[in-house]
Symmetry: C2
Subunit: 769 residues, 2 copies
């Protein structure tokens, strides 16, 4: 792994601080200072405009446009019409003038610049002194937040202090639909209406193909506005404010914005305006300070319950809090029609799409921090089950095939080699149901919706698979596993193993329902025409599933023939050839034993309770040297294995950049947006890796270790309604209940009943002082 930190921001346990502004890092910083609240997200761009290379990004979760005929190949099952998240109204639009000079940090002179994101409060602040050409000095203090208390609200405050003069400062603050998609430089919005009412202004934009609408309204309040009028352009509406500034006196302008989204094509603009206008009357009751209080209150509760502390390593302390912050602000279970894009709501890369990362990396975080959010993520899959059923049909299969990439539930990946060959989204949904139900006991969800998904996924698995011509085993031919460097292979071990587990779990659930929810089962059987023969067939497929284990070595063969592939010594590849996708002939990537990300190790991680340490050891030692980690999700899984195998330095080395992937721009592409799902992997890395958590078995197990450089660390988990804190220092582990009733947890192989008093155990083998 040839990754190096690009150190730029200041270290602080609770804040992300940029002191002095480096224009070269403008877009990276915009990503890092992104704010969101699941409903919407906005990059940390300068609201007053930054002509030299700003990347204005304002996104609404699930608002998208479509591309027709995206695929070059027009065969059955190849997705032609894709969709992508689009850049929407710039609701922070601001321009500031003194003596007709417009403020723009790409050309204006300025001093004492400092930008701070306070993770405790979710408030972003930026301040500097602007020195105009005419010699005037103005202190500017910008504050913004995207309300976690009221999903549709975003708030912006500008405080202006003339330092050496008395006179006018002109401020324009508006709502701008004249926005381009960064990636294509195309404009996808048409402004349908923009209007001035007594208390507020609004604008409504519509997309061309999907005809989705975004209504944005704002009011302004300030104690000392001298003059105000409204400006309208084709795609813009805003207030022009003239402030009569006095030297040394601060003038605050507060802007509260209400954004309302309507995704249904058929609902006309007029109706959207009517509905939104009713809701917007809230402006009477909403003011910046009240909303800020609510917002901070939300964050206080989050940190009180779910902070992770690391003593002795400020980099990772700051890093992990940044990760936790991102997870909560990207998604917290507000709306089951929403999901998590690979870049959250912070950029356009990956088109805003949701991948199987949701179930494999994000879901564990939410299960232990916010089960309502975890449930909503699964509800999202249930809501999109009809699209998955449709997709299976396109692929000549039955049941439900979940998409590799999507916003609205339809497959949006026009590359058939991924969309048609990668089956892990479907088995990941099944795993998500399994994992969520196991840890929350939410049988209601399981019986009501989970089992229906499981049955449809099994049908897909039963029609996509085949019986080998020679050995008579069942398996999957022509697939791509999680390792995308092996494109079209037979009997990928991950795919087969996950399918086997899905069949088995589904049959278990049906058995459980037979006993405990016969009415629910009978409804389901009727609804989906489930036959006993099918169950029999699944059982047979599960038991005859080909799992390619070399009995002599204990190594699982990633797919049939993998062991005989040409070997590439990954250390011999020159650094400048990475990423290989950019530098190697496309086909060359796919014909050797180099892997992009864990594949065998991935199923051994997901079902880590089921494999012996010896089995993990041989497989880790075989596959780790073949993995180039070209996926940002890869190192954390390896770190978790290394921890379990007592390779503690290796574990820490793989963990190294997990929490700071974006803060230190390790992949040099944070400018495009944050690696949101990798951020989830950082949490997973600490809790499953150093904490040694196993959550797939009949009981929760912990096996904590501590990286050498740390003095101590602690994390908290919500488990069956109880918040448990695990505190690990150099010698001991302390587990105690913070909130809720007694729970049983297995630590180092022994079950303990843990209550508020807690337990304290020595770390096996730790040197005591």
């Amino acid at each position: 792994m040839q990754k190096y930190a690009d150190k730029y921001l200041k270290l602080d346990p609770w804040r992300i601080i940029e002191e002095g502004f480096d224009s070269e890092r403008c877009n990276v910083s915009e990503s890092i200072f992104s704010l969101g609240n699941e409903y919407m997200g906005v990059r940390g761009y300068f609201e007053e405009g930054y002509k030299q290379g700003e990347f204005i990004g304002s996104y609404f979760n699930g608002v998208y446009e479509e591309t027709k005929e995206a695929a070059a190949l027009h065969y059955k099952g190849i997705v032609r019409d894709t969709h992508f998240m689009i850049n929407s109204v710039n609701w922070l639009y601001t321009r500031i003038y003194v003596d007709d000079e417009v403020l723009d940090l790409s050309s204006s002179e300025f001093d004492e610049y400092r930008r701070t994101l306070d993770l405790r409060t979710g408030i972003l602040n930026r301040r500097f002194i602007w020195k105009t050409v005419s010699g005037k000095h103005v202190k500017l203090d910008f504050e913004r937040f995207v309300s976690m208390g009221s999903p549709r609200y975003g708030c912006q405050r500008i405080a202006i202090t003339p330092l050496n003069f008395y006179g006018e400062v002109k401020v324009v603050m508006g709502l701008d639909f004249d926005v381009l998609q960064k990636s294509s430089a195309k404009k996808y919005w048409t402004t349908i209406e923009r209007e001035t009412l007594e208390d507020y202004i609004y604008i409504l934009g519509k997309t061309s193909f999907t005809e989705q609408k975004v209504f944005s309204a704002s009011n302004i309040s300030s104690d000392s506005i001298y003059k105000s009028n409204v400006i309208k352009n084709e795609d813009f509406i805003g207030y022009e404010l003239i402030i009569n500034g006095s030297q040394g006196i601060e003038t605050k302008i507060d802007k509260v914005v209400f954004n309302y989204v309507e995704k249904t094509k058929e609902i006309e603009a007029a109706e959207v305006i009517k509905t939104a206008s009713k809701l917007v009357n809230n402006f009477d009751n909403i003011c910046y300070d009240k909303e800020k209080e609510k917002h901070i209150d939300y964050w206080t509760k989050v940190w009180d319950k779910f902070d992770i502390t690391i003593d002795g390593d400020m980099d990772n302390q700051q890093g992990i809090r940044y990760c936790i912050f991102q997870m909560h602000q990207t998604y917290h279970g507000e709306d089951p029609s929403l999901n998590i894009g690979a870049k959250g709501l912070t950029g356009e890369a990956y088109n805003g799409h949701t991948f199987w990362d949701t179930e494999t990396y994000c879901l564990p975080f939410y299960i232990f921090n916010n089960p309502r959010a975890a449930k909503n993520l699964l509800e999202y899959r249930y809501n999109t089950l009809p699209m998955a059923i449709e997709r299976a049909k396109q692929l000549d299969c039955e049941g439900a095939c979940y998409p590799i990439a999507t916003l609205n539930g339809k497959e949006a990946c026009s590359l058939w080699q991924h969309a048609s060959l990668q089956m892990q989204p479907s088995t990941a949904v099944a795993y998500g149901v399994f994992h969520y139900v196991k840890l929350t006991d939410d049988k209601e969800f399981l019986y009501d919706k989970g089992c229906e998904m499981l049955v449809q996924i099994c049908r897909y698995l039963a029609t996509r698979g085949d019986w080998s011509g020679q050995t008579g085993e069942y398996g999957y031919f022509g697939v791509m596993g999680p390792d995308e460097f092996q494109m079209m292979v037979n009997n990928n071990c991950y795919t087969n193993y996950m399918a086997k587990k899905t069949f088995e779990y589904t049959l278990d659930v049906i058995k459980d329902m037979k006993n405990n929810c016969p009415a629910g089962l009978s409804n389901l059987v009727q609804k989906v025409d489930l036959l006993d023969d099918e169950l029999q067939a699944w059982s047979n497929m599960a038991s005859k599933m080909k799992i390619t284990l070399d009995k002599e070595t204990g190594i699982y063969e990633q797919h049939e023939g993998y062991f005989n592939l040409p070997h590439v010594d990954i250390n011999s590849i020159p650094v400048e050839e990475f990423p290989l996708y950019n530098n190697w002939s496309y086909d060359r990537i796919y014909r050797n034993d180099m892997i992009k990300q864990p594949d065998v190790l991935m199923f051994m991680f997901l079902f880590r309770s089921e494999f012996s340490e010896e089995s993990k050891k041989v497989n880790y030692e075989y596959y780790e040297p073949r993995c180039i980690h070209e996926s940002s999700l890869s190192p954390s899984i390896h770190s978790i294995f290394a921890s379990e195998l007592d390779k503690h330095e290796e574990a820490f080395s793989f963990f190294n950049f997990a929490t700071r992937m974006d803060l230190d721009n390790y992949n040099r592409n944070t400018n495009e947006g944050l690696h949101t799902t990798s951020i989830a992997a950082a949490w997973v890395n600490i809790v499953y890796g150093f904490g040694g958590l196993k959550s797939d078995g009949d009981k929760i197990e912990l096996n904590p270790s501590i990286p050498k450089v740390w003095n101590s660390y602690s994390f908290r988990m919500l488990y069956k309604g109880t918040v448990v804190e695990i505190l690990v220092d150099k010698t001991d582990v302390r587990a105690s209940v913070i909130e809720g009733t007694e729970v049983t947890i297995n630590v180092y192989g022994i079950d303990y009943k843990i209550d508020k008093k807690g337990i304290e155990l020595g770390i096996p083998g730790a040197a005591r002082g």
Copy 2:
């Protein structure tokens, strides 16, 4: 094989006859009545216009336009800029008016329609009686040919006879660049100039990206033109002729067209006009009748030397002559910068591209019928060697990688799965050199050019391949063999076998040159920096090449793991699901043991001398039932195997539609153009199949058999300068020299010296009367 004849045309040993016109078959007939002369080709469209669905197609060999950014995936080695043959000037443009009514068979009333292509002469004739709304009857007789005597000339004659009136008939005959590409409905030409000179008119069109130019000039002659003037439109120039018709008197108008092509972008239009105008002065010396005589003379010589006769089967007699006719008119060795497109010059499907069909199917025809043409086809590959070297670099390889589809030598296939994974074009070129040299003894070509190609191909083979991780054998990973239903496999047996043979042959040639052409070798070594180490490496690769033969059964495994693929009973696939590409999910095609076309059988055919009958038998019996023949090239190879294995009825059944694939529109897509390379396969089928020819060994071997329904058949072959005729009847085989000196040919396993007197042998096992 679910293919049925669409019987429409009349049977005749020498002519293709359409009696009465079926508008539904309009485009099919246009294809069938296509004419060409290697330099250009023109579909059999109605020159007077046929509004209801005409497909005007006029093509010049190697004249193309480019498409930028054709591929959706932008990775290294994936072709973005492709090129395709374009529809060019309609030099047959005609309009005929009586009383302001325009003749158009899609709306006009007509009678006694008959269209005839005479294969003996290469003349296309069409006649009918037009009945105008005003009650006038006009007999029209159209004749055209594309001159085999003078490559740039096309000739058209219209004879007009008023049957029941005296009066004016207006005829417009011109050169029209207002043509659209059929497939895209786009116009690719800009007219640069159109001019009237004393003797002739001309027009010059230019393409946008490639800036290729086509200059077209024509004169008109007739004894009885009343009035004539020239009409010009933006993209058109033509003569308007008023004929003063007399009842019962025929008026002939002859149009001779000179077409001149300039493919070099840098040569300006003015210069092209200058050059072409000099050449066009020939109009003085060229007249329709003289040109026709030359043309017919060419065809007479062809038939005298290379006819195939079939007695007792008019369908195949007509069919094979049609095939022979197509082969000669598509390509006959005029110009080594030209090649043969999959559809010849008869349509736009496959973009006019040349595939490996040239070396595997067409080359044998030319070697035995027209060695100059065979040599030119190889010269074409030599001329495009620099592009093949460039292509190898794009694929991170060394040496030369020949394109899967091309007009100008550059890879034009934007589907990476074909362009990057299919290696057979390169090994086919090597095979072509081997086969051509073996049969012609053209060592000059071999030493001068052939060996250089071989060396560069070996370099590609040596850098594209890899050593297996486990077994240490050499082979090719991530490839698609000839069978395109197995997309991305390891150690495809065809690929490996052909690579092995290429290495071995190249090393043999180098050894040969060491002894017989040391100066040539030393030049080559210097030119391409050939090292002894390389030769050593190739020898090692050849000897360690993985050839997956199951020793117990004698069956070659098509690729590693093929035997274990799920089995599909191809007879269980409903007829309406063919072609599978249109009806199956794209990925589903690639994950079972069904094959599209011969793969193992293909290398066993190319090197048929090297395999025992037993080996052919087991492999044929294993693979034949798995093959669905979705390639039109497939059945002939199977027919050849069946003949050799004494499965004579099966052999005839596979041969069944080979000669009439287009005449009876078996694939229902002849409307798009002829299956020109399949037409070559029909010849190969008779000569290699029923004739039992083996031409890859040290001597020519024949093993004739005769289909039950035939009384006799004969074919001729040019072999080392001698024309040999083989005549087979129900009991005997007669071989004799028609032209040239004595040759030795092995028949039924015994060498015979054959002279003009010939030999006569009984067919083994034939029942004698």
